[in-house]
Symmetry: C2
Subunit: 487 residues, 2 copies
């Protein structure tokens, strides 16, 4: 059959096939195309679940919440009480149930408050209109109600553009317009408006309660935890690259020979992680204390760390470019090999230690000695270049090597600022040393725990401190620009 479809194969058969119009030929292939599409879809569905198994759990949680809220219809006492108003509860569950606890809580609180305020204002307006219209139900009342609805919808829609409301209260303003319109329109037609509003408020609050409860109590997915892990993981990825960079750069003799490990390329996802981090931080602010995180955990500080991580990643991306392009001759590179290799290894270890310190929520002390050693190497490299290391060599061959060195020096200062920022997080979030954690766990008296130093710094850790003081000041710039190239 396969050869028949091919007009280029010999014999008479192709002639027969070409007589069939094109769209008929296409009809023959349709079922197989459809089967291929379905197969592809199934593979993708599997991949989506494999990438993050919590997606399957979330789907089941939403279905569970809808099933629970269906009680408004299936249970006679509830249906007798609320009738078809029960559908508001179902709609609430469908709209409010989101992937993370933060998103669900944010939407739930928005919907709850907007329903309450919209109903109250709607009823207030109705009573006011009744007073003014003095029973003129046919002209004055609808005109007044229409004008009020017009003005309030226009106002609330305009408020949605305000930057400080847009991020956290956009959904609330939408639901406010909805509820206000519902109450003002219903009040014109229904005699028992209070009863309708009461049913709506109860069903919507119940819906919010059900979806928030299912979201929190059944395998909760915390946006805060995701942000915490993401920021830590991103720093680790940078560490993986920079640790391997020195070896790759100084042992590869020709372009294409460099055998860059795939784990080194993980940093690329860091380059555009800004939006994800921003979203997670916005959602995390809604979340109550959970696990190791307090209610007012300093999520904003994670964004600062994320920004510094990205600044570092941009430099690492530039360094990566040097691995992928024609390289300067080995003899030129090898002149600065020692300090660069040292910096590369130590920076890698420092970044990984910083990642661990965030992950385990301990002060970033273990990274300090590595940063100190890399700063010593940086000072050595700087003085080596200044002594005219490459006198008489081709400028074109030297420039890329110096640029690489300058980027590496930038990474040192980036890492230092990153460490400072993580130290700040450590103070804000009151990270504790392992030992004090164990001590606190061993101590049965909760008062003892509170008397213990709430925020541990690295100052009291002898050996690290000595290294930090003894190393010469390398005077690295803190403005994020390549000091070497521009001074």
């Amino acid at each position: 059959m396969g050869s028949e479809a091919n007009p280029n194969s010999g014999g008479d058969v192709p002639t027969i096939v070409t007589r069939v119009p094109k769209h008929w030929q296409r009809l023959v292939t349709l079922p197989s195309e459809f089967a291929a599409k379905v197969q592809e879809m199934i593979l993708q569905l599997k991949k989506v679940g494999k990438d993050d198994p919590r997606r399957v759990i979330h789907s089941l949680k939403v279905a569970l919440a809808i099933t629970i809220v269906s009680a408004f219809y299936y249970l006679n006492p509830l249906y007798d009480g609320f009738g078809s108003s029960g559908i508001w509860a179902v709609f609430t569950v469908v709209f409010v149930s989101e992937f993370s606890v933060g998103a669900t809580l944010g939407k739930g609180v928005n919907r709850g408050i907007a329903t309450l305020s919209g109903s109250a204002l709607g009823l207030g307006c109705y009573y006011m209109v009744c007073l003014i219209s003095r029973g003129d139900h046919t002209t004055v009342e609808p005109v007044l109600l229409g004008v009020i609805t017009f003005l309030s919808s226009a106002g609330a829609t305009y408020l949605r553009f305000l930057p400080q409301l847009k991020v956290r209260y956009d959904y609330g303003l939408l639901i406010f317009i909805l509820t206000f319109s519902f109450v003002s329109l219903s009040s014109y037609r229904e005699s028992n408006i209070q009863e309708i509003v009461k049913k709506r408020i109860i069903t919507i609050l119940t819906g919010c309660l059900i979806s928030v409860s299912v979201c929190i109590f059944v395998c909760p997915i915390w946006a805060g935890g995701d942000l915490h892990n993401l920021v830590s993981k991103n720093i680790e990825k940078l560490g993986n690259f920079i640790e391997g960079f020195g070896k790759e750069y100084f042992t590869t003799s020709e372009v294409g020979e460099s055998n860059i490990k795939s784990y080194m390329q993980g940093y690329k996802s860091v380059l555009d992680s800004k939006q994800v981090e921003q979203n997670l931080a916005n959602l995390a602010k809604w979340e109550p204390c959970h696990g190791r995180f307090r209610f007012h955990h300093p999520w904003q500080q994670y964004l600062k760390i994320g920004n510094l991580t990205r600044q570092c990643a941009f430099r690492i991306d530039a360094l990566n470019g040097f691995l992928n392009s024609t390289m300067a001759p080995l003899e030129i590179r090898s002149k600065i090999q020692d300090p660069c290799m040292k910096m590369s290894t130590e920076l890698g270890m420092a970044l990984k230690e910083l990642a661990v310190s965030i992950q385990k929520m301990i002060p970033p002390c273990a990274a300090e000695p590595h940063i100190a050693i890399s700063k010593i190497a940086a000072a050595k490299l700087r003085s080596m270049i200044q002594t005219g290391l490459w006198e008489g060599t081709n400028l074109f061959e030297v420039v890329p090597v110096v640029t690489m060195a300058s980027l590496l020096l930038d990474v040192v200062s980036c890492t230092e600022r990153l460490a400072e920022s993580i130290q700040e997080l450590s103070s804000l979030a009151k990270f504790k040393h392992k030992e004090s954690k164990i001590a606190a766990e061993n101590s049965e008296n909760p008062h003892d725990q509170e008397e213990a130093p709430q925020s541990a710094s690295c100052d009291n850790r002898g050996p690290h401190h000595v290294i930090a003081i003894n190393q010469p000041c390398t005077n690295l710039s803190h403005d994020g620009k390549s000091q070497l190239l521009r001074s």
Copy 2:
């Protein structure tokens, strides 16, 4: 009064004030604080409207659509027909009315199709359950309906994670869950389920129709037009910077003396415009033909151009760093002043011409001679550097100048690729030369217009072509990496 509140002022009065508890003192300042907040809010509301007056128009449009759809309650024939089901139309208008036509159409189509399919499937399931349960209304029917609702909600929620559905059909899947749950739950309690479903479909489709009509026919805001203007404006901003860069770099003798014009800094907004462009392109795909844009206008090509613009902007940001930091001595810089100034001026003009070509939808021919001249200057600069221009000078002073030159060369190749990409857009979107546009407008016969060359290229434009051929091949790299530094 003011001096009384100040505890540092002399006399007995402060002693009296300090006796008042702190929170009472705060109560005194509350009204003024509140007034300040209100004033700030009003200023911000004014700013939001001033930044984009279409926001005011949008708010009024939403209010208008809600007022129109209120007819379901205010007009007797409509209320007699639909009763309180009319509220679905109101809710539809509130949810579907978005800022741009693309967003409104996208949501409207999603909501319409999801309501139809959800209703059909819901009814189908109900009839099936009726067949299976054989009238057992108390146990078999609710259990079966519950299981089906559970499975369908879980399935649809899971489908929302699929990348190809997430961007365009996320809202539709949500409404599908909503409608399916509504129909299956109502079918258990209501005897006239077909009637209910019919009313729901009619009101929701009417709501969609009203909001889409208001959005399109009252001062429409097109996402496609916004994307078109944004991409063109971004290129113009790069042109503004690069045109002024040469003068700033070669005339400033000390850091801090450079007097960078504010219009030159406009490029900074280009650096993170990716998300905005992506969103606008997704919405633009929903929009019908309008103004100068066809239904299948190549919006995807705008994203490609946007990416190239950003690549160019990253290099420009690095160049900007050289204006803000300590500069190499003037005598070192001045050695490459001539070709660099030429490149800077010509690139600026080329970029501005490219922006105009997008804005006016004409082929980017006017930019070609400028690109050609900048390529000649680039070749000259390259050969100058290779001849050992700075023999015997301090390497540290030369490296930043060479790096700057290399970035400028990168901008040349970026601009060339940008021009190619805009030429591609010109072919895809069938841009026409001004003359052929005027000719087409003058011609009364629509057939003539269609017979005219649909897509104009720059090949037939004598003088430009000559320049392009006569200039030597500068062999600029197209991989986006700095060829000079890494070869």
